[in-house]
Amino acid sequence: MATEAMAAPGAVTGGKIKSELMQQRVRAARWFLLPMLIALAVVAGWPLLRSIYFSFTDASLNNIDGAEWVGFSNYLRVQVLDSGAVRYRGLLVDPSWWNAVWNTLRFAVVSVSLEAVLGMLVALVLNAEFKGRGIVRAAILIPWAIPTIVSAKMWSWMLNDQFGILNDLGLRLGLLSQKVAWTATADTAMTAVLIVDIWKTTPFMALLILAGLQMVPKDIYEAAEIDGVHPVKQFFRITLPLVRPALMVAIIFRLLDALRIFDLIYVLTPNSSATKTMSVLARENLFDFDKFAYGSAMSTLLFLIIALLTILYIWLGKVRFDGGDR
């Protein structure tokens, strides 16, 4: 692979001219990477470091510059009461935080699994030859192309208990016996969010898997056909192993996205503990509650949790990003 060759120019056999050319290319590559690295450092690295810094201070929105270092006390501190009782305070023992972590994880796991399965189905259909395939492929991307905030608002009207089209359809078709307040109650609010998220991001999953599917050589299937291998067995023995790299990368993208879910939940559901996620809670503390430092601590933990899960996933799933996963 080109990247491997670039990373180890010395390993390339051949004359001096070739390795000089390689070195030149490596130098050029570094220059091309530079603008992106600077941009990343400015828009991602700097804010991240600032958030981490603020989480160790007593910053408030009205007094950001006057923030003073307080160590780990936003995360964990010990209070000794007058009675002598010892109690722990701080983010690491805050039940509302762990409730939000749990909500987020539950949401991420359920939504990404369902999206992976549905995305695979859609991709298999789109991979087949049929008339009007181009149009269907374009059409299926529409949910993904609509800005989340717009689709969240749109769905919140569709799911509305009194004026929503879903209740109206359900009643007319006899599927519902009475109007359901989808987004209002704790039992259905998370389901409503999942439905909208799956509707929105399955196309993305399907597209990435489809790209993987098209890389699979046709002759393997022909050989399997001749040997009389059942289509289901073909799928599990040929298709799935061969698209696995693409699938794993698609899942990781979605997982990163799902763990920082904010807009859908913010727009779609009441601000109750049943659906609050890490991002929603962090925003509330940062801006609404004048606890900028505490909110920064949440953002920092959110970052660490996402990083940890991603590393675990890459390690356990043996994901390789160069497509060499076989």
Partner: protein, 422 residues
């Protein structure tokens, strides 16, 4: 050479801007409900005609909790794009540092407003905002339905629930399957704090945090009041009420699908507009009382004010705009067109106002004994207090624990939050 030209050009444009300083371009943010923005525009047009300034409205979501987060962020960042903010009555202590002191500018007019409102907008001797209108909610009731079923206007919550149930059952039997008894603001946001404070206070359960800073919410009367409200969900109120803000409840009401509604007076003028299904069929009354010791009708004090950002690039013109929006002239228009309650006592006796919104004659008394939310004693922590309170109530309404359990937890959380002092 090029740079020089650029500089000259820049300087020229600066001179131009300074030269035309009389005609300022101002921006005002507003998250008004119903047709409030259209009304604001009509008033701004007058202001533009009088002063030659140009004013742009930046619309915001109507949830006051959402607005606050955004404003706080803008103000902390020293945003110069917004000159004038429409502020909720509870925000003054939290945003006081970021707004200009209007004491001097308003010294001639401050005396004409209710002293209690001016006081609520004064923080450490600084007048943070000019009152634009005040708010005290009402029980909206369908007089045609009450007459049909021969029921009086309910004076207690239990009476209200019984009447609502009976009429709802009757109307449903008569073929209107969409009929409900009572809608209110049940979403988990500031509006629920207002509604629940009324239930608690009207039941003699105190006002969450008392004026001296004591946390009083964990008491049997408060728990009974919230349990009572929880019993409405799924019976006289739709389950979806758990996600309703003002506009959603007005939606159900204005389609004629509810016997009662708790809402702010703005819904009066809108309910009587031509496209309303309940036009001429409803009236308003003070909210019902609870039972037990100290029970009385209680209305949460609301209201909106106009504040000038200290980052405004044209503070003089911006202050003029704020004063204009709080003036008697605009407040009178507001009272007539929007049925918003004026903050100027004299307007409650104005013949034009009373012709348009007859209920206002009674509202001065209601306003005068309205319950303030505990934003004054809890100061900068008010938002968190309110959020903890509405979460406890929302949990109870959703059937997630009883009121007594949730209020006990709330008391512990508030005590933690309070620490040594608010």
């Amino acid at each position: 050479m090029k740079l020089n030209k650029l500089l000259v050009g820049l300087l020229a444009s600066v001179t131009l801007v300074v030269g035309s300083a009389q005609a300022a371009e101002l921006s005002i943010v507003s998250g008004d409900t119903g047709n409030g923005l259209a009304f604001l525009r009509s008033q701004l047009d007058k202001f533009e005609a009088e002063t030659g300034n140009k004013v742009t409205i930046v619309p915001m979501p109507s949830s006051t909790s959402d607005q606050f987060g955004q404003y706080k962020l803008w103000l902390a960042a020293g945003n110069t794009d917004i000159d004038v903010y429409q502020t909720d009555v509870i925000w003054a202590p939290q945003l006081a540092d970021q707004f200009l002191d209007l004491t001097e500018a308003a010294k001639d007019v401050a005396g004409s407003h209710f002293p209690s409102i001016i006081e609520s907008q004064t923080v450490d001797g600084k007048l943070v905002a000019i009152p634009a209108f005040t708010d005290a909610p009402a029980l909206f009731y369908r007089k045609d339905l009450l007459e049909k079923y021969n029921k009086p206007v309910p004076a207690t919550w239990d009476e209200m629930a019984a009447t609502a149930q009976e009429i709802m059952d009757g109307e449903r039997a008569a073929g209107n399957a969409e009929m409900y008894g009572f809608v209110f603001q049940g979403n988990a946001y500031e509006g629920l704090t207002c509604d629940a404070l009324e239930w608690v206070k009207s039941n003699g359960g105190g006002q969450i945090v008392e004026a001296d800073g004591t946390i009083s919410i964990n008491n049997p009367q408060a728990a009974a009041a919230i349990d009572r409200a929880a019993s409405w969900i799924g019976t006289i109120s739709p389950e979806g009420n758990l996600a309703y803000q003002e506009e959603e409840s007005r939606g159900v009401w204005q389609l004629g699908n509810s016997v009662f509604m708790r809402n702010w007076p703005y819904a009066y003028a809108l309910g009587n507009s031509d496209d309303s299904a309940v036009k001429g069929k409803f009236d308003v009354a003070p909210l019902p009382a609870g039972d037990g010791e100290g029970a009385r009708s209680a209305a949460t004090l609301g209201g909106w004010n106009v504040a000038v950002s200290k980052y405004s690039q044209d503070p003089e013109e911006a202050i003029k705009l704020a004063l204009f929006l709080g003036s008697e002239e605009v407040q009178k228009e507001r009272a007539i067109n929007q049925s918003n309650l004026p903050t100027i006592p004299a307007l409650y006796e104005d013949a034009d106002v009373l012709a348009a919104s007859p209920f206002m004659a009674n509202w001065k008394a209601i306003f005068e004994q309205a319950v303030p939310r505990p934003s004054a004693p809890t100061k900068i922590k008010y938002n968190e207090v309110s959020s903890l309170f509405w979460s406890a109530v929302h949990n109870t309404l959703s059937g997630n624990g009883t009121a007594a359990e949730n209020l006990e937890g709330l008391e512990a959380d508030l005590t933690d939050l309070k620490g040594d002092a608010w």
